[in-house]
């Protein structure tokens, strides 16, 4: 049973009297206890999906979906109080930029404490409850690898280095004991050891508490070791989605292949000092989106049919949308 199930999510942003499709029929589902990676270049709309799920899309943007459900409950037309309850108790989001996602005028300790849902606070009187909140905060800070909890709790966001801020964001997500953690690029800007620690922590949470994790990143290396399944996004379209090991072994979409080829660690057959293969060009801006398959202009395999949006095709639980997938060569 899918915890988070999104089918044909379309997000349109008004621009000069017209609407731009920033997300075009995106499909994504996260099962219970699963680690799903959501991969794509910057500008591919990863963070937009995150904000769509969290409900922080500006009112004048148009959002439509065949299905966007949380545990079978539609997220699109929730009552305000129910939405708050779900966001408070079940879904936790680690945002991309800790410095701007933390209130600059409130200490970090207070900010972590206020995200603890009241059902997780022990005690009857306010001083007992405050002590309980403080205990939980300190424990969680230790868990994310901050030992100087006193200093961090007293500090304001601008006094933090980037990676500590990121850990605090993570701690804020953890105190609520959510069913799913949506991590929007949580390891960005961290050095490798810290990154490994955070990844290990997330993996451990996933294994011991069976927290589902939606890991949004462009860092393939970081993800590939921990993710069970992966969804690849290009320019607001889901390109390919399936089990991590299948995708790594045999990508069907040219974009996935380019993505995996560009990471040297995935290649054993690479001769020394050879150039890494990559796709020419860069991701188009939202104002100049190509029609049909948006990879079209950059795709080495593009043909006439690519001006139409390709449908979704399945091979077992591996889905892709391409007119000329890679497996056809091999036959």
């Amino acid at each position: 049973m899918a915890l988070l199930d999104i089918k044909n999510l379309t997000l349109e942003i008004p621009h000069e009297g017209d609407y731009i499709r920033a997300l075009d029929k995106v499909n994504l589902s996260v099962n219970e206890g699963e680690v799903r990676a959501l991969v794509g270049e910057s500008g591919s709309g990863k963070s937009l999906i995150v904000s769509a799920v969290s409900g922080s899309i500006p009112k004048h943007w148009r959002i439509t979906a065949d299905r966007m459900t949380w545990n079978g409950e539609s997220l699109l037309n929730l009552s305000k109080s129910r939405r708050l309850q779900i966001m408070n108790e079940d879904i936790a989001i680690v945002f991309q930029n800790p410095l701007s996602s933390l209130d600059p005028s409130v200490t970090l300790g207070e900010q972590i404490q206020e995200s603890i849902p009241s059902r997780l606070v022990d005690g009857k009187w306010f001083w007992q409850r405050n002590a309980s909140r403080r205990q939980t905060t300190i424990k969680t800070l230790h868990k994310v690898g901050i030992r100087a909890h006193g200093d961090v709790m007293r500090a304001y966001p601008h006094e933090m280095p980037y990676d500590v801020g990121q850990r605090v964001m993570l701690a804020m997500a953890l105190v609520a004991q959510p069913k799913i953690i949506i991590a929007d690029d949580p390891t960005r800007g961290m050095e490798t050891t810290t990154k490994t620690q955070i990844l290990k922590l997330l993996t451990r949470l996933n294994k011991t508490r069976s927290v589902a994790i939606l890991f949004v990143s462009h860092d393939l290396l970081a993800i590939s070791s921990m993710a069970d399944t992966m969804t690849v996004l290009y320019c607001g379209q889901t390109v390919e989605s399936g089990k991590m090991k299948h995708l790594r072994k045999r990508p069907l979409h040219p974009y996935t292949k380019a993505l995996i080829d560009s990471a040297p660690s995935f290649r054993n057959d690479l001769p020394p000092k050879s150039m890494l293969p990559n796709l020419g060009g860069s991701i188009p801006t939202l104002q100049h989106l190509p029609i049909g398959c948006r990879l079209g202009p950059r795709c080495p395999r593009a043909q006439k049919a690519c001006v139409n949006v390709p449908g979704i095709r399945h091979i077992h639980d591996h889905t892709y949308s391409c007119h000329y997938p890679l497996h056809r060569d091999k036959r």
Partner: protein, 343 residues
């Protein structure tokens, strides 16, 4: 933190110094006898002249004279008014509290009116309510204070006869001056009917305070509205929402403080406007404050009074502005030195 206090202290002292020098310069620039301009007394005979000349060091060099001028000012020897012959220190001591009282109540009323309405307009931005509030605020802000005061007099005193026309308190009440602040004086006095006296003083206060505070309040509404709209767009508000915090919690814990912080320095600028408006309003309502007093001095060409009155009002505004700056530094964590955890 100590360093910035020290810096503000230096700024304060330097500004005061230049104000004092300016007033010293004015005494030399005003027409007439220098000794009269400084002391306010036209000496009747040579003996008195000699006495005053030694006190104000008129025959000495300019530097020594300036030094003497400063020391006299700081010891409260401000000379006498040319027109009334009363010591200026006592005159200002009598009139300044009335002005401070009027401005202070106006500031409080402006905040009490402005903050909730500004927040409301910001939260309901781009709705009919917001447009209405904005329109009213703009109209209010653009009204000249003397016109507003006259309109109030016309409506509330002359037509409806609800509020008294002028003065601080009805002559029936005999309140001895202790602090100069009428409400405090009433509480300190041993008058029999304090309740009535206070009600009467408040009725006298109502119109001038309202006239000044409506204009400052309108400015506050507009500043705060903009600030709240800006803050609501910030990612940390989206992040707080995504953590499932209730709207009231988000507003009081995250929006309000962050919205007030950036407008605090702008309020320091508003203080000047507020004081100026209060001074203008005093003349309308015959409020015995420093504005009324200064205007009389200007009419009568009372140079000593003009000089000292300007110095005192300027010093007051400078100290208030620096005080708000320091306050801003104290409450805004971003302006503090990073002393906590830098792991």
């Amino acid at each position: 933190m100590m360093i910035s206090f020290f810096r503000y202290g230096t700024l304060f002292v330097l500004t005061l110094f230049s104000l004092v020098s300016l007033s010293f310069l004015l005494a030399h620039l005003f027409p007439g006898d220098l000794l009269t301009n400084l002391s306010g007394v036209a000496p009747k005979d040579e003996k008195e002249r000699q006495l005053l000349a030694t006190l104000w060091a008129v025959d000495q060099s300019v530097f020594f004279r300036f030094f003497r001028y400063c020391s006299l000012i700081f010891s409260g020897e401000w000379g006498v008014s040319i027109s009334s012959g009363l010591p200026l220190y006592d005159e200002i001591r009598r009139t300044l509290p009335a002005t401070i009282e009027l401005s202070f109540y106006s500031a409080v009323v402006a905040v009490v009116i402005g903050v909730p309405i500004g927040c409301l307009a910001g939260l309901k931005s781009y709705t009919k309510l917001d447009y209405t509030i904005n329109a009213v605020a703009i109209v209010n802000y653009s009204l000249p204070v003397f016109w507003l005061g006259l309109a109030f007099i016309l409506v509330f005193s002359l037509q409806l006869n609800w509020l008294p026309l002028s003065g601080r308190i009805s002559l029936l009440f005999d309140i001895p001056t202790v602090t100069g602040f009428i409400l405090i004086d009433i509480l300190l006095s041993n008058s029999l009917n304090k309740g009535e006296a206070i009600a009467n003083a408040i009725a006298h206060l109502a119109m001038p305070v309202l006239a000044v505070s409506l204009i400052s309040g309108a400015a506050l509404v507009r500043l705060l509205r903009r600030s709240v709209i800006d803050i609501l767009d910030k990612p940390y508000i989206a992040s707080a929402r995504s953590r499932g915090l209730s709207s009231s919690r988000i507003f009081f814990d995250h929006v309000l403080r962050n919205a007030l912080l950036p407008i605090l320095p702008l309020l320091a600028i508003q203080i000047t406007t507020l004081m100026t408006n209060a001074i203008i309003v005093e003349t309308l309502f015959s409020w015995p404050g420093i504005g009324d007093w200064l205007l009389q001095a200007i009419y009568q060409g009372d140079y000593t009074a003009i000089r000292m009155g300007m110095l005192v009002v300027a010093a007051l505004i400078v100290s208030l502005t620096i005080f708000v700056d320091i306050l801003n530094r104290l409450v805004d964590p971003r302006k503090r030195m990073p002393t906590n955890a830098t792991t």
